[in-house]
Amino acid sequence: MLYREALNKALDEVMSADDSVVTLGEDVGLYGGSFRVTEGLVEKYGEKRVIDTPIAELSIVGNAVGMAIGGLRPVAEIMTGNFSLLAFDQIINHMAKLHYMSNGKIILPMVVRFPQGVSRQLAAQHSESYEQMLCAVPGLRVLSVNDVNYAYHALKYAILSDDPVVFIEHELLYNKKGEVDFEQKLNPFEARIAKEGSDITIVSYLKMVDDVMLAVPEIEKALGCSCEVIDLCSLNPVDYETLKKSIEKTSRLVMVEEDHKTGGYGGQIVSWAAEEMFYALDAPSLRLAGEDVPIPYNRGLELASIPTPESITRDIVAWGKKNDV
C-alpha cells in the first residue's frame, strides 16, 4: 500500500464509521486532493461531507474550528504546509487554545493535515517546514508521518481523538510503499525504532528517517559500529522514554532534520538530552539540519541546503572519528 493510499483508507474508514467526520480543503472533493489523499471520497460521502473550499486557508481552519465546536469532527487539508502560515491565527489562537480558555467546555476534535518540506525544485516559498513553530504552541498535538503503517493508524487516531491535532506529511513520501498491519494496536505517541543498534542513537522524523536509513550501512562500515535509528512519529508530545532507553544503551545522540538548523526542532531533542541524559553521554550530541538559507530552486543547491544520505554519512563518520566512536 502507498503512503497516500494508507491515509485515504484511514479517512475512508473513519468517515464510513462516523457521520460526524467531514473533510474540507482546496480540491479535496471533485479533484480528489492535490496529492490524491481524498480520492474517491466525494463520490462516497457527497459534497456535504467532502467540502471543496475557496483558496482561503484562514477560513478553512476557521470553519473547521467552528464545525468542531458545533459537534463535527472536521479534517482540514491545507494543500501544503507553506500555505498553512495564512491559517496560523486560527491554528494558534483558536484551535490550540479554545479548549483551555473555555475551561474545558469547548472540545475541538479536529485535525489539520498538510504535507511540507523540500520536494523537487519548488523553490524557497514552497519548501518550508513549520514543525518548530507548531510544537511551540501548547495545546496542539503534532504528529509527523514517515511510515505507511503509522500513516494509517495515526490518522485514524487523530480524527477520533477529542484533541486538536496537526498532522504533518511530507511531499516526497506520498508514493512510498509499505505494509499496513490492520490488526495492530498502534500508539501514535510512541516513537518507532526503525532499526536497532548499540553504539549511536540517530533520531529523525518525516522523510529524513529514510535518508538516515540509506546512510546507516555506510556509517556502520566506516566506524565499525552499530546505529539505532528512531523515528519520532509524534513531535509533541515526544516519547522521551524510548529515547532515554536508547541513549542509555548507546551513550551517543545524533539528531537529523530537514528544517533550518537555527531554532530548528531538533534543538529540543538535543537540549533535552543535555538536561536529562548528561551523564549518559559519551560524546557531544550532533545536530544535522538544513542550512540557514531559503531553499534554493537550483537542484544542486537545493540538495546542498538539506541533509542527504551522502552528507549524513560524511558528517556522522567525521563526528564519530573525532569522538572515538
Binding site: 551513550s251 548528561f278 551523564y279 549518559a280 553521554l281 559519551d282 560524546a283 557531544p284 569522538n323 572515538d324
Partner: protein
C-alpha cells in the same frame, strides 16, 4: 622611535590643522601626556602620547594643515623599558594616538600593562585538551579514577568511556589476568577494584561462578547450523515403517546401509518426486538417483553424496562408502563430494538406536532414518518435504522399498 601622526577624528576628516604644541623638542613626556591640540572639521581635540620618552622632533608648525596619518612628531623611547611591552607593529595607522575632547579630562586609561601572555595561554590550552565526556567522568567518579592521570597517559584530546575502562583494566589487572578476562568474555566490573588482580584470582572467580568458556564456531559448525536451521523450517512430515531384515542378514557381506542405498536408488527411479529438489524457486528433477549418506566421526558429521547410485553395482557403492570414511578421517571432503543429492539416508541402527527421524539434507526431497535390527525387522522413518512429495507418493515409495527388501533378486551382486 615612536611617531605621532595627524589623527583621523571623524569619518569625513582628511586633514587637520595643528593649533598648538604643548611640548618642546628635548622635553620628556609620559604616557597620557597631552602633546598637541589639533582642529578637525568639527572640533578642537587633544593629542596624547601612548608612550613615555623624549620628544626627538617636532615636524609641524602651529597653524599648519596636515593630512591625516602624516607624522607630526617623533618621540625617542630608547631609554624607556616600556618599548618592549607593546609588540604591535609600529605603523602610522595603528599608532594613532588617543584623542580627547579638549573640554573633558581623559577618562579612558590608556596605559597598557604588559599582558602576561604565556602562562595564561598555556593554562587554557591544558584545559582544552582535558575534555572528558560526561559518561566517562561519571564512570571515573564511580571508580575513583584520577582523570588527569588518564589524560596525561593517553595524550588524547578528550576521554571517553573506553579510555577510562582501558585505564581501569590496565591499572587493576595483570596482563595474564586480562587475557583470561578476555578469553571468558568477563566484565571487569564483576571484580572489586581496590587491588591488583592476578590470574589466580580471575581463575578462582571463573570456577566459583562456573563461567562457561565461549568457543568460536568453526566454519563447519556454522555451515551445519545454517543447514539444520533451514531444514527445520521446511514443511516436513514423517512416515514410520518396518522392513523385513531377513535378506539383509543373509547377505551380510555388505552392510545394511550399502544394500539400502541400492534399493532406495532403484525405487527412486520409479518415483520422480524423490529425484527432485528445490533450488532458487525452481524444481529440479535429476535423471539419476543420487543419495546423501550421513557419515560421522567424533564431532564431525558430513553428508557426502553417492552419485548416480542407480547405475552403480553393490560393490561400487560399498567402495564409495569406504572412500568416504577415509576422507572423513583425513578431513579431505570437497564441496563437490557434498553436492547433487535429492534424497538422503542416515543409519544409527548400528549404534543400537531402535528408531529415529533425521533432518532433511539441504534441498533434498526427503531422508530415510534407519534403525537397528529388532526381531527380524528394521525400522525406517521417512521424513519428506511436503512441497516436493505428498503423503500418497511417500506411502507408495515406502511400499516399493518394503517389496524390494524382500526381493531376493535385489541382493545379487
Amino acid at each position: 622611535m615612536y611617531e605621532i601622526v595627524m589623527p583621523q577624528l571623524s569619518d569625513s576628516m582628511d586633514e587637520g590643522k595643528l593649533i598648538s604644541w604643548k611640548v618642546k623638542e628635548g622635553q620628556k613626556v609620559n604616557v597620557g601626556d597631552v602633546i598637541a591640540e589639533v582642529e578637525s572639521d568639527k572640533a578642537i581635540m587633544e593629542v596624547q602620547s601612548f608612550k613615555s620618552g623624549v620628544v626627538a622632533e617636532i615636524r609641524a608648525k602651529e597653524g599648519d594643515v596636515i593630512p591625516v596619518g602624516e607624522v607630526i612628531a617623533r618621540i625617542s623611547t630608547s631609554e624607556s623599558k616600556n618599548e618592549k611591552v607593546v609588540k604591535t607593529p609600529e605603523t602610522a595607522v595603528v599608532e594613532t594616538p588617543v584623542i580627547k575632547q579638549t573640554v573633558s579630562k581623559p577618562t579612558v586609561e590608556t596605559k597598557q600593562e604588559p599582558i602576561p601572555k604565556t602562562p595564561v595561554v598555556k593554562h587554557l590550552q591544558k584545559k582544552e585538551t582535558g575534555g572528558i565526556s560526561p559518561k566517562a567522568r561519571a564512570k571515573a567518579a564511580q571508580y575513583g579514577v584520577d582523570t588527569q592521570r588518564v589524560l596525561d597517559k593517553t595524550a588524547k584530546d578528550a576521554l571517553h568511556v573506553k579510555d577510562v575502562e582501558a585505564y581501569l583494566q590496565e591499572h587493576y589487572f595483570t596482563p595474564k589476568a586480562l587475557r583470561l578476562l578476555d578469553k571468558y568474555g568477563l566484565d571487569f566490573a564483576s571484580f572489586t577494584l581496590d587491588h591488583k588482580i592476578d590470574e589466580a584470582e580471575v581463575q578462582a572467580f571463573i570456577e566459583k561462578n562456573e563461567t562457561p568458556l565461549p568457543q568460536p564456531l568453526s566454519q563447519m559448525q556454522k555451515a551445519i547450523i545454517a543447514n539444520v536451521t533451514a531444514s527445520a523450517q521446511k514443511p516436513v512430515y514423517r512416515l514410520y515403517e518396518h522392513i523385513d531384515a531377513k535378506l539383509f542378514v543373509e547377505h551380510d557381506r555388505y552392510s545394511i546401509t550399502v544394500w539400502l542405498i541400492k534399493i532406495l536408488a532403484k525405487v527412486m527411479m520409479r518415483h520422480e518426486a524423490f529425484r527432485s529438489r528445490l533450488q532458487n524457486d525452481a524444481l529440479l528433477v535429476s535423471p539419476n538417483a543420487s543419495i546423501a549418506v550421513a557419515v560421522a566421526e567424533s564431532q564431525n558429521l558430513y553428508m557426502p553424496v553417492v552419485k548416480d547410485a542407480n547405475k552403480r553395482s553393490i560393490a561400487e557403492i560399498a567402495k564409495e562408502l569406504e572412500n568416504f570414511k577415509t576422507k572423513l578421517k583425513e578431513n579431505s571432503f570437497t564441496a563437490a563430494d557434498m553436492q547433487g543429492s535429492s534424497f538422503g539416508i542416515s543409519n544409527l541402527g548400528m549404534l543400537g538406536v531402535e528408531s529415529f527421524d533425521a533432518m532433511i539434507n539441504k534441498n533434498d526431497s526427503g531422508i530415510v532414518a534407519v534403525g537397528s535390527l529388532q526381531e527380524g525387522k528394521i525400522s525406517l522413518t521417512l521424513s519428506a518435504d511436503h512441497r516436493l512429495v505428498n503423503g500418497y507418493e511417500a506411502a507408495l515409495f515406502m511400499q516399493d522399498v518394503k517389496k524390494e527388501a524382500k526381493n531376493p533378486l535385489q541382493f545379487k551382486d
